[in-house]
Subunit: 445 residues, 2 copies
């Protein structure tokens, strides 16, 4: 029997992840101690209400409302409170008292990451956050270590399980957004207020974290272009499938060169996108997450797994805990944050991508030529057009006569956001266009 030094572990937060971490830590304590080379003693769990019900239960003697006292006596602090405050203050207190910190707090990292990493670097403490992106899927460590000798060019991530679950239901069952969201809520995949998920805020935080890590550059949350899924319609999803695509909410981080200024930099954005059915991301179903990345030497890689459920996130937290404990025993480097590249962070207007535009147009001779010239006038090259007669009619302004309409689905070659926006504005003001039904970016081709 090897005798280990005991490390004192303080847990902040007793929610679904915290309760799982506490249970696994107590259940597998000996095994984890063998792997870490140190005993891992859970000295307390700071919660707001010591009498709240918890699953799995946490022994009453471990619960406390005094987070600050708990932090002061700890070697390693695990922050699972979420949100900005008091999490930020607690983490800074932990760092300044010499503890290493493990957090799953994507909101805090995306907004105050540099402050926390600076504080940690000054005292030689470490901040681990594998659990902040992709639940149990190892993505932070592969980006930080495994690909440290490579050059990441692009990341396409399905990083929000709730929206993937909703879009998947819309795709496979033809459900409306509202109905799919209701199912997600009933199954516990969506929170009572689903805004953070469906408006893309959660995915944008993860995009900021991934882009910062992949490109060795601080990418602030404000620089992440964000569109949610609330405008996605069943008709769009159905028409996408017919055309060989599936609609996914993607977090996209990429190196790019602004086509106008020539500035080389990086960009991060979150929006619904059409993904070809043959792409590995297209077969990521339900609430699963996946990160697909392209690197210069490694080529294409994908990491796939369950999203951020309580026990899956606990797996990532405990992996970080073993790493932190090993470092306490042996010393040496933990998470190496690096922003040495410090590349310009470019706005969405620097991005070029392909688009699919669906239009309802007046069905009359010459309309296709008119539409095509509006694209070319704005420097957008059309790759493919599909036309179908739609049963709807419109009354053209200035006349009384109902006119038949047709639906045009136009795929473009790569175009800039600015050129595309100018094209769409022209389409909207055109007499032959009765409606711009949808504009979707196409990724992964």
């Amino acid at each position: 029997m090897i005798e280990y030094r005991n490390l004192r572990i303080a847990l902040l937060g007793g929610g679904s992840v915290g309760a799982q971490v506490a249970a696994l830590l107590r259940e597998h304590g000996d095994e984890l101690a063998s792997r870490a080379g140190a005993g891992l003693e859970l000295v307390g769990v700071a919660v707001r209400d010591v009498n709240a019900e918890r699953h799995p239960p946490i022994p009453q003697h471990l619960l406390t409302t005094d987070a600050e006292a708990l932090i002061l006596g700890a070697d390693i602090v695990i922050e699972l409170i979420g949100g900005i405050e008091p999490a930020r203050t607690y983490i800074l207190q932990a760092i300044n008292s010499g503890a290493d910190v493990i957090t799953a707090n994507k909101a805090l990292l995306a907004t105050h990451g540099p402050e926390l990493f600076d504080a940690a670097e000054q005292v030689g403490a470490q901040l681990y956050y594998e659990a902040a992106v992709g639940g149990a899927i190892p993505i932070i460590r592969p980006l930080r270590d495994s690909l440290a000798g490579d050059r990441v060019e692009r990341i396409l991530g399905i990083v929000n399980g709730t929206t993937n679950f909703i879009l998947d239901l819309m795709d496979t069952k033809g459900e409306s957004l509202e109905s799919a969201l209701a199912t997600a809520t009933a199954l516990g995949y969506a929170e009572a207020d689903p805004t953070a998920d469906i408006e893309g805020y959660d995915a944008a935080q993860k995009a900021a974290i991934l882009a910062s890590l992949a490109f060795h550059t601080t990418v602030p949350l404000e620089a992440v272009h964000r569109e949610g899924i609330t405008s996605v319609t069943p008709a769009q999803v159905e028409s996408a499938r017919k055309a060989g695509f599936v609609v996914k909410l993607l977090a996209i981080c990429e190196r790019l060169v602004d086509p106008v200024t020539g500035v080389a930099g990086v960009s991060a954005r979150v929006h619904p996108a059409l993904v070809p059915l043959s792409h590995p991301l297209a077969s990521v179903h339900g609430a699963n997450n996946a990160v697909f990345l392209e690197a210069e030497a490694a080529g294409s890689l994908m990491f796939y797994g369950a999203g951020a459920g309580g026990i899956e996130t606990a797996s990532a937290v405990l992996g970080d805990l073993v790493s932190a404990a090993r470092r306490h025993v042996i010393g040496g480097p933990g998470v190496a944050e690096s922003t040495h590249a410090n590349l310009p962070v470019l706005p969405i207007t620097s991005v070029t991508t392909r688009y699919q535009i669906t239009l309802s147009v007046i069905d009359q001779p010459g309309v296709l030529a008119t539409i095509a010239s509006m694209f070319s006038d704005h420097g957008v090259s059309v790759e493919a057009v599909a036309q179908s007669v739609s049963p709807a009619t419109v009354v053209v302004a200035g006349t009384d006569e109902p006119r038949a309409t047709a639906t045009l689905v136009i795929g473009t070659h790569e175009a800039t956001e600015a050129d595309l926006a100018a094209t769409v504005a022209a389409l909207k003001s055109s007499e032959v266009v009765s409606a711009v039904v949808s504009v979707l970016r196409v990724e992964g081709l």
Copy 2:
């Protein structure tokens, strides 16, 4: 401009991986230095023939045939020679001279891993080997660190690109094994002597490495049950697809309990298996690799990417190089090998799995009942039977009359290897069975 201490890097081997490592190291040296916190000076490349042609070329002044002198002056030694000797001797020399070692040598790790890890531990040196399994796919680090707080239950891996390429061609183009192998050779996916790939030796080495790491247990190569793909026929592949499966060569590492002795242990095996088309591994095409794993808390995870091409493997080597360099600068832990669990390694006869057995039988009344009782007599439970009349006829021994045959495809519930083997032996000696066409394990259901 930050001034770094220069670390002296010695490269052993100038083949396809070595040449790529040398080129990337020289091309991205400044960038890698920033990430590592140390300059990375390639001091030499030990090769057998300094005049051989190399792609990309290595500057002549770096080439040497004196590996031992090169090793003596190095902080970090990268071993890309392959094979057992002289690689083993060089690595031990490097470790004993205080250098950290990076290797992609799966054959050596699978056979002499414990010796090398012990030697490294005694002097506090580190041995990195992310490149040994799955090319650029980060799998060693996720298993070692990210999942260190979890309990890996099972790994299903497509870890040999050559055989996956061949089986994929057989599946998608209906090619024979010989024809697919010829294509693989022509495209450079298979070596002149393809034995190591198609007989499963390469996959077995990787299975031993993965099982040792995942289960914290030394799993010797001799304990890995190994079957190659040479007995896989186009008819099997076609019949598998019709039944909703695809044939893959899998490396399977799992915790299990021997059904007879009740001993809990681990097992590693490599063999062709039927994988349901709905399983994520079924869509791993071409020469790609993927590792699918199930862990107690993390649930199902999959890591996917290109197999072991020169540049992809170089990516993994350089990732390890940055990790090793950081450790040289800051000190502390590198790869933590742990065999503390030391579980019994169980033989293939302890494994229970499902099977699909294809039989050619005499087409006569009562034959199905006869066959079914042969399964139940040996404790194997039949789940499904599909029968089709086949055009072949056989002449039954002792008669002159040709008899019509039928093809029976029998799916079983989980059964032990021993019970299944006894069933197959009985089938082979039965008068109503004209041939046991194939016996395949079914995995991933």
